[in-house]
Amino acid sequence: MSEPASILSTRNLTIGYRSGNNAKIISENLNLNLNSGQLVCLLGPNGAGKSTLMRTLAGLQPALSGEIMLGGQMLLDFKPAELAKELSLVLTERIEAGNLTVNEVVSLGRTPYTGWLGTLSNLDQEKINRALTVTETATYRDRRIHQLSDGERQKVMLARALAQDTNLIILDEPTAHLDLPSRVEMMHLLHTLARETNKAILLSTHELDLALQAADQLWLMKQDGEMTTGIPEDLVLNGAFESAFAKTGFYFNRSSGTFTIHPEEVSFNINLSGNTDLVFWTKRALQREGIGTNNSESLTPEIFITEQSNEIQWKLDWYGTATYYTKLETLIDSIRLKRSHEIH
């Protein structure tokens, strides 16, 4: 592996829109850096300006001020044909020419390299085959785009970008519209691609948990356009992650790395003991009911969970009376009932 080289960097970049004499600044003073072999996820709430940043970095939209350097050269100095050899895109827009085969779409990725008629050389064909292989799309290369599922289609668009053979690939929300397994697969694919091909990959996404796991770097954009960068773990620990998405109604749970919907308002406590996995899920069910699980010494009801030959059993000790349950649902119902009796 070669030394990580800076592929894309910005200096004092200001992004936004200019209409007439007014400039609407979305984010300013951006000093970003993207190295080869790195997978960078751009995260931020809706409306923070992720798309504007992506479009500006991709050269689809002019920057208000500042510099963007691509491979040691100013982005503005690139001719379109040269830029196409340095930077490829995967966009959110659905491609409408469903009549094209997968092979044809991926072959279009070679456009910057082919002659005036677009005839493919052996090298072009080799790159196309490689792109199809690594994205695992080769098996349906003769199918038409409109016959593919969203997940397959997205992989084909990635294959097209790979065939374009650029040092930098920018993907705008590549996991949108995909189901969970496809999302995970896509992120995993991008992660391995960055490592194996030594390309720099930048993507914007709303998949916080996937981004936390797969990204080498996070670019966090707050609602007001302020940018924080760093490795995911640092951003979690210094609270930047939480503050970027701060909103009432949910909070970031540092121990699980997920956002939790209701901050618990504990009105009642139960002692919980047993196998860790079982305790975890039971705790979740209880939390939804507003029941805390502090293992306090005081006189509270207790739940013991046991598992024997795939049979899970919850033993509820309600101030001395023990009842056994085999489903969480009946346990929760029963607790609810007992508590309402208590209140009346």
Partner: protein, 354 residues
Amino acid sequence: MKIDSAGSAGSHKLIIIGLLVLVVFFFLLDILLGSVKIPFSEVIRIIFSHESDNTAWLFIIEKIRLPKAITAVLVGCGLSVSGLQMQTLFRNPLAGPSELGITAGAGLGVAAVMLTGGSSTSIYAIRQLGLSGSWLIIAMASLGSALVLSLILLIAGRIRDNVILLIVGVMIGTITLSVVSIWQYFSQPEQLQEYIMWTFGSLGGVVQDHLYVLSGVVAFGLILAFISSKALNALLLGENYARSMGLTVSRTRFMIMAGTSLLTGSITAFCGPIGFIGIAIPHITRSLLGTSDHRILIPATCLVGTVLMLVCDIIAQMPGTQTVLPINVVTSLLGAPVVIWIIISRNNLRSSFS
């Protein structure tokens, strides 16, 4: 995988050879049939050795039927390729020269020549103009087409909806036509009649110098289209993807618009507004070949367009009778059902474009 792609390329080749055979067949048939019966052997002899014992036959074939058949070929190629380019450029299956009012724009250009000429001569009189006049007409008709085309392109940038764009096209066409109508209102009845004849469309009457001019311009437009085929392919993925693959979209768009305007403008100037060929042929070709690759589609569209235009011309002559139907009527009778089929089979629409 290799076998598959080779197989589809092979079937493309077979279809194209089949189309070539059909072109030759219908070309000969078009010359053979007409209100005057001329034996087949004599027709062949006139075409290849330019001589015949019957001078009337020689005149009919060389001065009337042959130019008319060649015009049919030019119209078939030109209008269908301009339709194909427009459908890709607008990413709209309902785009076509007559549907979006481009031919109306060409008509306006033609009318403008007559108006600025200071005389109230009719559009039909262009056939009486000399060589320089025909260039002027082509230039004005192409400019008229380009004007309408750029107007529609401007609107298409804002509106992504297929049907709305089509309605806008029809409206712009209507505006253009009403401008022509104002001019018509102040013209003499005889000239009006001639204008109406022009709107029926006619493949006849494009002879000698005019035919050379038309052939030259159509050939240039077709070459322009073929050069753009790589760009057209990239545009299939949408403008943003095309740009990311190194395409200068504004330049490409200009090339395509120039080609389309030249093709539509020149053909409309000489043959009148011929409807439905531009929209129908690309769809027929696409479903025939099952590909969106313009490098194959452009030549194939030319061939299919030629075949259908020749067939329309043969039908228009009503073989065996003395009557001749206006060509526009025949193409509309044939083309309108195709457009209805496109709208009804949303599947076909979706698979190609949306």
